[in-house]
């Protein structure tokens, strides 16, 4: 009898939606982990079944409870998904799952399946087209509303963050750069005051803990037209212990930018150097102090705070 053909499609789609529903309460991947088959296979088979044998029989769709129920289910799921996505956007990632234990990815898959099955079945029935088109319009409107709502929320968060950063309207560009980049910017400005424009300065390699002071392109922006040389980072301590092979007349005395409690890796350069003098920088006061000394000897963890940053003038 023709009814059983449609029931087959209906049962398959119910099974697919049940699987998607379980995964929205648990998590995507739950079915595969515990039952060892991929839900995607069920979804695809259902889709093919609907295309070939249709979900419900023609004609008179207006009188059929099933397509109407399906339509409202599709709209309802779309609205619920939209509301939950908006709540997630307003609060924080994972807000919905942590509050009501619904996994948004799973819910979206389930909603998508309902629409796909609904559309696939209706598209095969010419008389269902107006029903389909209205539903598509409603869904599109809902998605646009959701997208716009999330966009406006994100824009407002961005504006709030940006306006908070603009607290001191009277700051100079240098003060603004300091606010943006932190003490590493102040270090480069003190370096510029202590070295001539044609200086060549050796910097540490761009590895932990010198990811900013070792980043040549960043440092070069702030110290240009001075030249910079450094070793290519390798991650190893042997690289940190060496100085670049190229000629240089200054060496950046760079303690390191990380905030780890273990101070033993900090301090660069790590070898003794013959010097004409060393300029030590106070990154809090923004001042420098010149000490005439003929050798720089690294002192590791015993380095006093006021001797951690500066620049070494290499002896000829």
């Amino acid at each position: 009898m023709k009814l059983s053909k449609y029931q087959f499609g209906l049962w398959l789609s119910t099974l697919s939606l049940l699987i998607a529903g379980i995964e929205s309460i648990k998590y995507p991947g739950f079915i595969h982990k515990h039952l060892h088959f991929s839900p995607s296979l069920v979804y695809v088979i259902t889709g093919i079944a609907i295309i070939t044998i249709k979900l419900y029989p023609p004609p008179s769709p207006e009188k059929m409870l099933l397509p109407i129920l399906f339509r409202y289910l599709a709209i309802g799921m779309g609205v619920i998904s939209g509301i939950l996505l908006s709540l997630e956007a307003i609060n924080y990632p994972n807000f919905v799952f942590s509050t009501i234990h619904i996994h948004l990815d799973g819910l979206q898959i389930m909603t998508l399946l309902i629409f796909i099955y609904f559309l696939l079945s209706n598209l095969k029935h010419i008389r269902y087209h107006s029903l389909t088109r209205e539903t598509i319009m409603i869904v599109m409107f809902a998605l646009v509303l959701n997208f716009t709502f999330a966009a406006v929320i994100n824009d407002l968060k961005l504006l709030s963050k940006e306006f908070k950063l603009m607290q001191n309207a009277g700051d100079t560009d240098s003060q603004k750069q300091h606010a943006g980049w932190g003490d590493i910017y102040l270090y480069t400005q003190l370096l510029n005051r202590s070295t001539p424009h044609n200086a060549t300065i050796a910097f540490p390699p761009a590895q932990n803990h010198w990811l900013y002071s070792g980043n040549v392109v960043l440092m070069r922006y702030f110290v240009y037209p001075r030249s910079i040389v450094n070793l290519t980072e390798t991650g190893s301590e042997e690289t940190l212990a060496q100085l670049p092979a190229q000629t240089f007349d200054y060496i950046a005395l760079a303690w390191g930018e990380s905030n780890e409690l273990d101070l033993s890796p900090y301090g660069w350069p790590k070898q003794a150097v013959k010097t004409e003098y060393i300029d030590y920088f106070d990154l809090v006061a923004g001042t420098s102090e010149r000490v005439i000394v003929n050798q720089y000897t690294p002192t590791g963890v015993d380095t006093p705070v006021d001797r951690r940053w500066g620049v070494i003038k290499v002896a000829n």
């Binding site: 598209l123 646009v144 406006v152 824009d155 960043l218 922006y221």
Partner: protein
Amino acid sequence: MILTTLAGQRLVQHLCPDQTKIQQYVLGNLMGFGTYILSIFVASSSGSSLNEHLLLILAIPHFLLLISLPTQKQGSTWPPKRDLILYLAILLLVLISLTFNWFWPVRDWDALTLYDFRAKVMTLSQDYSPLYGNELNYYLAYPFFTSFVHMIAYIFDFQRPAIYYSLLYGMFGVYLYEFLRLKIPRYIASITTLIIMLTPEIFHHSFVAYTNLPYTIYIVITILILVQYQESKSNSWTWVVALLTAIAVHIRYDDPFWILPIILCLYIVFKQRHLYPLIVTSGVTLLSRLFWLNFKKDLLTGYGQPKSSLDYLSLLSTIDYRLILIRFADVLMFLYKTLWTSFGHLLTITLLGYLYLQNKKNRRVLLTLYATIGLSLLIVIMGTFVTSFYYSKWQIVGGSVRRMMMILYPLTIITSALTIWGKHDS
């Protein structure tokens, strides 16, 4: 900028006379100022010093164009007064963006270390030579377009070059509205325009001195012009498309969407039996690409760092073909994770719009837009797939891929709006 915009507008008047007045000024800026920047590149790569004299001399051709081309009085229209509210809304967004760009000096990472640094070097030393060094490959990662924009500001002692991005953002909004208001109800056109301008990625990039927004604007407007004129019997619009694509190539060389206008012109060849758009667009675009490619190769070779061209045959021989399907699945999963959160809504809307469109008549023009969106996705899938074989860190550049796909925001939103409310005229 004003002079080049006026000259560009005069040219657009002749090439695309049915564009509205505002569209002409926007296109005039994109083309006029864009070609001016390209001329700086051509002159400097031939050895000219980068100083204010060069900038003034290079403005002369635009001045001559402005005075030699007669004004077309008929055809184009100004927007009606009732559109003032929308323009005020756009102005408000631009003012917000301008506030940030006026307050801050250039600040984001690549904006600082690459685009703005090149500008400062060129301003101080009047050529590129200080860029030669171990990082030359990094400094040549992108063409000099936005660096030249910054340089122009610095040469004339203006320390806020990033307002260029705010102005571009405003022009984009204005152009989109003008494009839409003639095709869909005015209030829908207003809402659509504002949705695009408020898309967080686009809004944020209006106060970040990156190349993504300028590139997006150039490519999207090029596609809209192509869509608008694809059934036109006249060919003069082709030069607008060709020049805009050539300029886009000099903003971001490696992004693959320069190919979209060429493919669309190929479609025109099949439909209209018109070879002219394809020849002009592909010729000008490929010439533009060749220019940057050779310039970069010469510099790298001259400095002793020849960029080894990828030996695709050797690469093919190293690929284990049994793993191709697995790699393809990995690429699809990577792109899904990278792009779905940003574009999932819009792609779903687009798909639904396509289904909605099936029963509409006169949908040829819209199908072009849908095809463009589909092609963009295909390009990024295939591009990522190929890249995965020679760049081992391909899975950590999700942010770059997302920014690269920025063209999808306006394209999908416009397409959906035109689908539902458009008259589907050619």
